[in-house]
Symmetry: C2
Subunit: 399 residues, 2 copies
């Protein structure tokens, strides 16, 4: 399975320029809506006329709508625009070994629909037919509305391709080794498709509609089956050369420590992850099924769970420290398939290293915070990726 392809340096022409500028305008509207032509022109460096033409086109496509005139001091009152939330939708699909989740999200990142479907097996044919079902139920009853479907974001557990983490088989999908997921889903869903890992999708979800709104550089530590890291650097999603960046679960934080399924000792994942929590509780004779089991245990003040949190805190603090030192993000977000209360408790118990580039005077964002997108983060993230792609342009200039 391979989701990242080599990139080719391409030239630009009038058509690509317009595409880029549409994204620029959409991006600025999203960030500062409602907003008028003149202001967009100022911050984008385009002429008012160019912005005007693009807005006309976006209005035609129903991605933007007028938001009334507003007088602000002298001069002609500004005719403001905002995103037309219902002008377009994106589908998000998360594939887990045992189930699939679907989410439909509008241009503003608002969730319109979510669903869960059991997954009897992981064969591509099964996954694809469930994906079709999710597509159908998500779009059902929306045929009347003339909403543009931007595409689908499919979230699958990494790592992708044949890599050295052999024990990670428990989180990877079987039967997908030789397939091209993008082509498969594109065919099945009949729309543009992007494929991403859960942590990255979660990060983008937080950027489109969560605690990372407006941030250009941040990291998301995602509790999935293992532990993943989603990285957005200067507005760009980081994937690595082979699509496997952010494998933080197998970073060694306790040399010579616990044996991990990957064969190494002291991986972060053996301390801070759902697997770690489950193992810890199983040792105490408590079996964990769903995430709500953990929530119940936490609410009941279960001593073993509390001990796990204590044990996870140190390694996790160390991981946050290294993320800060390596990526220098505006903030680190914690989230994924772990109850909010547990995440909050974990965050509160962190003892962040003082010697970090992040221990900076005059910070505005907290060093670590909990994600706002909740349990469905990944599926929402898939959809958010599509929204993100339509709205976020690539070229930035220094101020």
């Amino acid at each position: 399975m391979k989701i990242s392809s080599p990139r080719r340096i391409v030239g630009s022409n009038a058509e690509r320029t317009r595409l880029h500028n549409r994204q620029v305008v959409l991006g600025h509207v999203r960030e500062r809506q409602p907003i008028g032509r003149a202001e967009i022109a100022r911050i984008s460096g385009l002429s008012i006329q160019a912005v005007s033409n693009i807005i006309a086109e976006l209005e035609e496509d129903r991605l933007l709508i007028e938001a009334g005139r507003q007088s602000e001091g002298r001069g002609l009152p500004v005719l403001k625009y905002r995103l037309n939330a219902d002008g377009a939708v994106a589908l998000g699909i998360e594939v887990r070994p045992d189930a699939m989740f679907g989410a439909l999200v509008n241009l503003e990142g608002e969730t319109l629909f979510t669903t869960r479907e059991a997954l009897p097996d992981n064969a591509p044919s099964t996954v694809v037919s469930v994906a079709r079902r999710i597509r159908a139920s998500a779009l059902e009853g929306r045929c009347g509305k003339t909403q543009k479907i931007l595409g689908a974001g499919v979230v699958m557990p990494g790592p992708f391709g044949k890599v050295g983490i052999s024990g990670a088989g428990q989180s990877a999908l079987h039967g997908w080794e030789d397939s091209d997921p993008i082509a498969v889903f594109q065919e099945a869903l009949d729309m543009p498709v992007v494929v991403e890992n859960d942590a990255t999708a979660a990060a983008v979800a937080e950027r489109v509609r969560g605690v990372a709104t407006g941030l250009r550089t941040f990291c998301f530590i995602y509790f999935g089956a293992g532990l993943g890291l989603g990285v957005v650097a200067d507005g760009e999603v980081q994937r690595g050369a082979f699509g496997n960046a952010g494998e933080i679960g197998h970073v060694i934080v306790r040399p010579g420590g616990r044996l991990c399924a990957c064969g190494n000792h002291g991986c972060l994942e053996t301390y801070a992850s759902r697997i770690a929590a489950r193992t810890r509780l199983a040792d105490a004779g408590i079996e964990i099924g769903s995430a709500s089991d953990i929530e119940n245990l936490y609410n009941a003040g279960n001593a073993h769970l509390m001990e796990w949190i204590d044990e996870a805190s140190g390694p996790l603090s160390q991981a946050v420290g290294l993320i800060e030192n390596l990526f220098d993000p505006e903030t680190v977000i914690l989230g994924g398939a772990m109850p909010d209360a547990v995440l909050d408790h974990l965050i509160a118990s962190l003892e962040l290293p003082g010697g970090s580039v992040a221990a900076r005077a005059g910070r505005v964002t907290p060093r670590v915070q909990r994600g706002a997108c909740g349990r469905l983060t990944a599926a929402l993230g898939g959809a958010a990726l599509v929204i993100h792609d339509t709205i976020t342009p690539r070229i930035a200039a220094k101020t």
Copy 2:
């Protein structure tokens, strides 16, 4: 001191499009020279005519030159072009607490001139006057040649701004806290200036003319005063939100281990860095002055130095593992102010974790290799950054 400014999303127009396309053409020529118009057009997605116009312009600017016709099967023989190595030069200046280094590099990345000047103190006024002297001697005797000066890359030790690593004062410059280095050097050198940290500059040097030629995603572990990490991801230099990404020296690899100057215990820098080596040797009564002292000791087979290498190997292996897991690079390069022989020995002694996304079947590049740019890497890197900026475009498309 602040070198990173917030970026603003800007629109594109005909002028900016041309600038981008010039870089695209230059980039493709650099990568596959000698090369003809038609091939450039094919790989860049531009029309032949567009490429033709751009080549005419670049030839006019003396950045490209004809490389003769070459028959390749049927049809009109291709008129090939190559970079005009001497068409333009870039100045690199490295500022260290005790000395400054200068390098002049041509468009092909070839070193034309290097120099070293002692630095009596770190006051901006002193640094600036030495920089002016370096500029003068570098350009001396080149006034006759009509070489375009693209700009200067100034390399300074990070971290920049007020951060939590208080003990890092030994590597940071004093008296620069409130100044704007870019403006200062731009004024002093009378040319466009970029400022970068040593590790990043070294990484770019390897990309322009070293072992990372042709790679889009890789990391460089740089032995400077401390230990830094330069990251190039998908062709883009990674700086972090505040310009301090890559502070790998203060990543904790041995929890509860040696006390670092930063106040934490077990930082990588206390095991694998010049400071660590110096401390280790000082304990044995051996004082280290310059880097050549280390080289002599190594050649003499000094037992204490060998012991240090042994001690450094474990933490360094762990660091390489985490870099691989977090960034998923095509390769990790080791280099900087450490003798080649020591670097080679260090690399040979690494025991890389098997459980890493980098332990992949069918690798083409080695997981870890030594940098090719030698001791002057950083100064060369400064110049390379300028070359890189003129040649590397930003927009890439999936194949």
